[in-house]
């Protein structure tokens, strides 16, 4: 996987404290995704427990495609509307639960559980 060898090593940044975003109840996507240190360009990403797509929309700016999954239909509808507003056609929102994903095997390069477990 391109994002791994290039960006991540076994010991890099362990325990490093990074600045968080300001003014949001949760960190802005760009801050949180930057902290992960992953290069999402060209990758297929699944954001499980995505809610309104805070991270999914952020990831969609780099990733080839993003699937945002959440059981809350209202949150998904708001996410879809925001994706349209931001002009991000590569992010899809779908109803589902983390423990029983109706998705094919080996279909994503990156899976994100943020505030999910």
């Amino acid at each position: 996987m391109r994002c791994f060898p290039a960006q991540v090593s076994g010991t890099a940044s362990a325990g490093r404290i990074l600045p968080g975003g300001l003014g949001f109840l949760r960190p802005p996507a760009e801050i949180e995704l930057a902290a992960y240190g992953l290069d999402l360009r060209g990758l297929r990403v699944a954001d499980i427990g995505a809610g309104e797509g805070r991270l999914a929309l952020g990831a969609a700016r780099d990733a080839a495609s993003v699937l945002a999954i959440d059981p809350d239909r209202g949150a998904l509808a708001r996410g879809r509307a925001e994706a349209r507003r931001q002009g991000l056609p590569n992010v899809k929102f779908s109803e589902g639960a983390a423990q029983s994903l109706r998705l094919p095997d080996a279909s994503f390069d990156v899976v994100i559980f943020s505030w999910t477990l």
Partner: protein
């Protein structure tokens, strides 16, 4: 929780990346005065049931690493600051919060609680690789 991790494992390509990010209940949130980098004048703990849930999540992650279906590649923590006009607004926020304790453990007297206030909380993350 292990079920959810196994599902994540199933949908990932070989050597795919799994990210687990959560508020870090092992570290109290800090209440800072005036600015997001201001003096720490209080702390906020985590509700006991939430702490227990977080420990179960930690165990689930340890379990999938122990079973060698994932391996940990990196972990870290970021700090996220949430601004409040004053302690009344902060108390309103805490009243219905699902994670934080209902009250601030102030380390200064009420008279020295300069405003605005910033609650800085830790978010931990772990990057795992599918094996």
């Amino acid at each position: 929780m292990v079920d959810a991790l196994q599902e994540a494992h199933r949908i990932l390509v070989p050597h795919g990346v799994f990210v687990d990010a959560r508020p870090d209940s092992r570290v109290p949130a800090r209440v800072r005065a005036r600015t997001a980098r201001g003096r720490v004048i209080g702390t906020i703990g985590t509700q006991r049931p939430t702490k227990t849930d977080d420990q179960l999540s930690d165990r689930a992650v340890h379990e999938v690493v122990r079973r060698k279906i994932f391996r940990s590649r990196r972990h870290g923590r970021l700090w996220h600051a949430i601004p409040f006009e004053d302690s009344a607004e902060l108390n309103d926020y805490l009243r219905d919060h699902l994670r934080f304790s209902r009250r601030v453990e102030w380390s200064v007297s009420a008279a020295r609680r300069a405003t605005p206030l910033f609650v800085e909380r830790a978010v931990r993350f772990e990057i795992l690789e599918k094996l």
